[in-house]
């Protein structure tokens, strides 16, 4: 299991625990606090932080190799996707309740940052995964080797 996949899976578990804990907390808060303060965050911690992130990590690990030189595509892009997704979701988890509870310019800024970062994370994941949706065969190895612009090896001997 690659290091980045371990990060993805462990972080997804942390979001899972956090989401379910938030589900408990949301019922302990005073009734005066609107459900819009926590409900969307709770749902997105589950479906983005837990489920989608788990899928991202397992896909990075188990999908067919893209090329001999870069079997999992761009590791930089995959790491950036991980960072963007989690910072984006964390910004939402802070910004959305702030905005729901009152006029908070910082909260609105965090929401905007969150929207942009999570969108970029989705784009990064799709860009890195798309070339790996292939049927591996010995005949297509050379073709795949050039997909990411990797230099071709010179023949030995």
């Amino acid at each position: 299991m690659p290091t980045l996949t371990r990060w993805y899976i462990k972080t997804s578990l942390a979001w899972f625990v956090a989401a379910l804990s938030l589900g408990v907390v949301s019922y302990l808060l005073p009734a005066s606090i609107p459900s819009s303060a926590l409900q969307p965050v709770y749902l997105h911690m589950l479906v983005v932080g837990w489920i989608t992130q788990l899928i991202f990590g397992v896909v990075y690990w188990m999908f067919p190799k893209a090329s001999l030189e870069r079997p999992r595509g761009s590791s930089t892009l995959a790491a950036a996707t991980f960072i963007l997704l989690n910072i984006g979701l964390a910004a939402r988890a802070v910004g959305e309740p702030m905005t729901a509870l009152g006029p908070a310019p910082i909260g609105r800024s965090l929401i905007l940052v969150s929207a942009g970062l999570q969108w970029l994370a989705g784009l990064g994941f799709v860009a890195n995964t798309w070339p790996r949706v292939i049927s591996p065969s010995p005949h297509s190895t050379e073709e795949r080797r050039t997909r990411f612009g990797a230099p071709r090896r010179r023949a030995q001997g």
């Binding site: 609105r108 969108w119 989705g122 049927s135």
Partner: protein
């Protein structure tokens, strides 16, 4: 990775990007009126991500990795292809109908297609759920 899996995963990735884009716009509209009002597209956002992305990816990968029959066959392909087609059609009908102010029956048809997709995939996968090598 068989052809059906490649088609299903690519469709799932497209749905993921569309769903994330709508979600980003909806989130943006919570923060500033400068973003377009896309709240009527919230049902489409949900359908795209819950079924178009997550469920479709699961079905496509299941078709790939579930145990095969002796000789390497994956069994009847028609129900599996039917499941993917019904799911995609259902997602768009059920998801887009509220935004287009379409009659309620359109949503019912969309949801019915999604249910039939689940049934079709279950029919395909059921015999493959067994021990490897049997």
């Amino acid at each position: 990775m068989p052809r059906l899996t490649r088609w299903g995963i690519r469709a799932a990735l497209i749905h993921l990007m569309l769903g994330f884009s709508l979600g980003g716009l909806i989130l943006c509209s919570k923060a500033t009126p400068a973003c377009p009002d896309v709240w009527p597209l919230l049902p489409l956002h949900r359908e795209l991500l819950m079924l178009g992305w997550t469920a479709q990816l699961a079905l496509a990968v299941a078709y790939w990795i579930l145990p095969r029959f002796p000789g390497g066959s994956r069994g009847r392909e028609v129900p599996a292809w039917g499941a993917l087609m019904l799911l995609n059609l259902g997602v768009w009908l059920a998801g887009a109908a509220p935004a287009l102010a379409a009659p309620r029956q359109v949503i019912v048809v969309g949801r019915t297609l999604e249910s039939l997709a689940a049934l079709a995939f279950a029919l395909h996968a059921w015999p493959r759920i067994r021990r490897f090598g049997m």
